[in-house]
Subunit: 335 residues, 4 copies
């Protein structure tokens, strides 16, 4: 029987604060499709967290949240610039192309999932042609797919030239809680000129919910209809909103991310294999050959070789220090 | 402060059996994206309910469940035959067209949301041409949008000619629980030759979840990828599956629908306005002029004029007999 | 062997002026994809015809021209208002839904293919909701599908309220030549505030070519890429442009449409069946029962019952007065 | 004033055989949308050329022909395997994603535009997952984008493993005439198990027309509707068909391609820069630094640096030996 603890940060259940909020806000009758008081309250909390005057909606998956919003930022014959290993570019099974009627994703290189500023400049400097999809938006991921966290200045250095070329800016914040727990100021999002944030609830420890934060409020025009058109307007909307009240009123959204980050640091400290990316959030990436990975699997640990060839260990709100120590001990046997 | 009790069957929260299951199955680590034991168990229960050897997946909204599955049954240059007042035809904000790359919906008439068999035959007899979208599938809704329930024979009389013409059959079962509570045998679905059922959890009293039941298992090919492409593959899949365990192991899925239906009968019995459709499930539709509807709103009842001009009152698992009696009393004042 | 003369205005070949231009502009090497001198010259002529400072592109079919441009005017979760019997609404096999990722078409009634202003006002007054596709553009057809021609004032009476509500205006000008020959001033298009015209070449007597006239030049942003994305950026673009030089420099575009209109008037004057729509352009629509239509077919005339139940007779640049007289004589036998 | 002779094979006009056929088949009335005798005759000639019992349609651009047909071979959540530098992968501005609702293109490496068999095997051996688009079809290009021609055995070595895995096979034959002129047997297409060929007319020397040859006739179901849905069903279909009669009855389709190939060989023989790909068809690719390319442009020759970094010289039916010699002489000055 395999242990999935470190396979991903979505193998955990929901934190108690979320389950409590689901029960609490299940009572009574509420208007549907987002006109309810629970949604309003959660939206207020999210505006407060990011210190933005934004329109806030909720989606059931990050894939949908990202695909729907990038499709709102680019015409179908345009493209989104994103890290070549971003979830958007590699792990959505073509969803942006569905929601965006064939919209393009142009991958950019960069270490640890952070886009290389020089590569961005080169992409921005390419002239338009009718024969390729020119960029209309830049998508950033904070924290990155490789457990790194952009410093605010590093993010600004990417956003500024993109904005100067007229591109909109999308932030995939599936792990923004981990970035915030690592020191990234959530209020920077507005300051930096991000137009849309897809704010992660699920990986932070919720039942499925992602918040779509439309900082550029012009994107909000008929957004409810856009969501329904995309199969994402939930009738009992309160159940996508309530978890946010549970996570944000208690501070658990970031405090439990801090725990996840700490577990990753603990694992990194004991890691006998070469670490391939800076451990700044809740993931540890290592270099491991195939026979060793097989033996790790045989030892019962379900972990995966990731897109860059590293083996990935993810921690979550539910990761225990006992599990970390057990894993570290097993790894030590294999090293 | 308006009372939404009768505005829809999605204004209620989640039944206790569902909330309990969410808590119960939140514990521990599970593989994500549907490879978990909770999903497997819920799928087994659904196969048992319908007595079919089907592939079962879950979606977060009925809109997505319907749009994704009809898109799997028809090519983009083909059409789906559906009741002209079905949710698919009138209330999805074009979602089938997104998921189906412009797939068409051809509306058919018929009383109380049931398709008129003669109208279906006429549609099936139209020859193909390159200038319109010929039908590739038939979509039925059980119970209908107007609170009626197809008898098994009536459904068979629609499915047989459609199948004879090579059409696939889709069943929008958003309110199948209410139909079952009204006497429709859920095991008829397989007997009748339905290819896909989108089985309603949400309106039955769950947190958001709909089951996609692929009775024609050839439709299951790479369906996980189809879901992810459509933004519907939930990472923490257990939370879409657990409610089904809560509802089906306890029998609450149909027993609470029976309650909703009984509340509709109670309201119908006391209704002082002309009833416009047979009250066979959980809705009561009446004829009411605009000034009277306004006064009903002023009395605090949030109810809506529906697509056919009737005013609609919906009951749910959470509707109380006290609320029904209060509403009936207020209506008596207005009649 | 059936005679197709009156089956449509697309059963004719190309007028001599077009064939001559194809030969003339085939010589020599030219940049491809619209950067050629032939395209530039044709675009100038079209700007002159309509007296607009527009960006001009060419498409191979009217379906593509219309579908691509309405998709540029509305988001996928929005809709286009169009006459319920317009080509866009009834005869494109769902193409707008493909190019517009599920964009909706909302049909409006009105006699002879002209939209009823009161129906338009009602549609414009409907409030937004997340559950249906609200209108983002109005599409007009000049001349209409039923052989009628909008007076400039009648068109203004539709455009003004649409513009006041923020809608863009699309003109399907597949038969604009016939409308112009009937007295409609082509320069009215700009005055009226139309944003996009799809100007018909094919039905006017060309080899396949339609001009996309972007009067709102902001729509021109990356339009070449939009065309290529839509499969409509022709490499040897000169062959879609040259016919326009042949038709516009000689005046044949409208003078040959005047001939087609005159042939329709000649047929109407001799028509022994009740005429169902005003004969203002190149079509004659009559009331005819099914047995009579069958006998007409047996007499060798390929004509069709149209969407409104009328039988349609279309004239073109190639229709001869002998053919009209022969048809009229055969019809007299059947009446 | 730049000379475009060698910029592409689409900078030439139409060969005399095509212009003659346009004039010849423009006469008289014909049914529209492909039901005409001209279309039937051209389709017969194409079936004869390839020795296949196929359904044949015509499209106005290669982009549309390719995008429409690959969309018919793969579900939206699946992918097409194609050479990483194929037109489909790099030069369609996302058209396959539009027609295929987000269908994926997976690029494979290989010299001179020919797919490396080992790379294909690796791609075929990747297991399915819900998180990426698994391949449903293989697209080959004959002749390749880099002027090479697959031998029949080389093509068979790619098709066999793809077929064994259940993939369909698409052939982009934009330059099939050049491949045939280079010795590739057009009748091999059927023997090899290709399911769909998009047969190039335009680059062969026609006005815009590409033939869609559905060798797997099950793909032909409602294909006229598919074309109209895609904006590609031309009303005056005869004008896309007539050029094929002109080219195939005279043999000009391949004999003029042989001329183009000979011009490329003549240029290659005199080429003072390193040739980067085998010169097997009508293109010559060379290594040239940026300052030299600039001087070549200043000398008046419009040629382009291609996707692999080579500078590309294309010959066509209209290329003259005088032009080749002039270019060679100018190149000699720069070398």
């Amino acid at each position: 029987m395999a242990r999935y603890d470190f396979a991903s940060d979505n193998v955990a259940g929901a934190m108690p604060e979320v389950l409590a909020a689901l029960g609490r806000f299940s009572c009574g009758f509420e208007p549907s499709y987002g006109d309810d008081s629970v949604t309003a309250r959660a939206a207020d909390l999210i505006r407060g967290l990011l210190d933005v005057d934004a329109e806030v909606w909720f989606a059931g998956t990050g894939t949908a949240g990202n695909a729907l919003t990038v499709a709102a930022l680019a015409a179908p014959h345009e493209a989104i610039l994103a890290h070549e290993h971003s979830h958007l570019a590699t792990d959505e099974t073509g969803a942006p192309g569905l929601f965006g009627a064939g919209v393009g994703i142009t991958g950019l290189p960069g270490g640890a999932g952070r886009i290389d500023p020089a590569a961005l400049l080169r992409a921005l400097d390419q002239g338009d042609s009718s024969h390729h999809q020119s960029p209309a938006a830049l998508s950033l991921t904070q924290g990155t797919e490789f457990g790194a966290v952009y410093a605010e200045a590093a993010m600004a250095a990417l956003i500024a030239p993109a904005k100067a070329k007229g591109l909109a800016v999308h932030l995939d914040g599936a792990r923004l809680a981990n970035a915030v727990a690592a020191g990234f100021d959530p209020k920077a999002v507005g300051r930096l000129g991000v137009d849309v944030v897809v704010l992660g609830g699920t990986k932070a420890g919720s039942t499925p919910t992602e918040a779509i934060v439309l900082i550029d409020k012009s994107l909000g025009r008929r957004f409810g209809a856009r969501l329904k058109h995309g199969g994402q307007l939930t009738s009992k909307a309160r159940f996508l909103a309530a978890p946010w009240i549970g996570m944000l009123e208690t501070g658990a959204w970031s405090s439990r991310a801090a725990h996840a980050n700490a577990m990753a640091k603990r694992l990194a400290a004991a890691m006998p294999f070469p670490i391939t990316h800076p451990v700044e959030a809740n993931g540890v990436f290592v270099s491991m050959d195939e026979p060793t990975l097989r033996r790790l699997h045989q030892a019962g640990w379900a972990v995966y070789r990731f897109i860059d060839g590293s083996v990935r260990f993810m921690c979550s709100w539910a990761t225990t220090s006992e599990a970390v120590d057990q894993l570290a001990s097993d790894l030590a046997q294999l090293a």
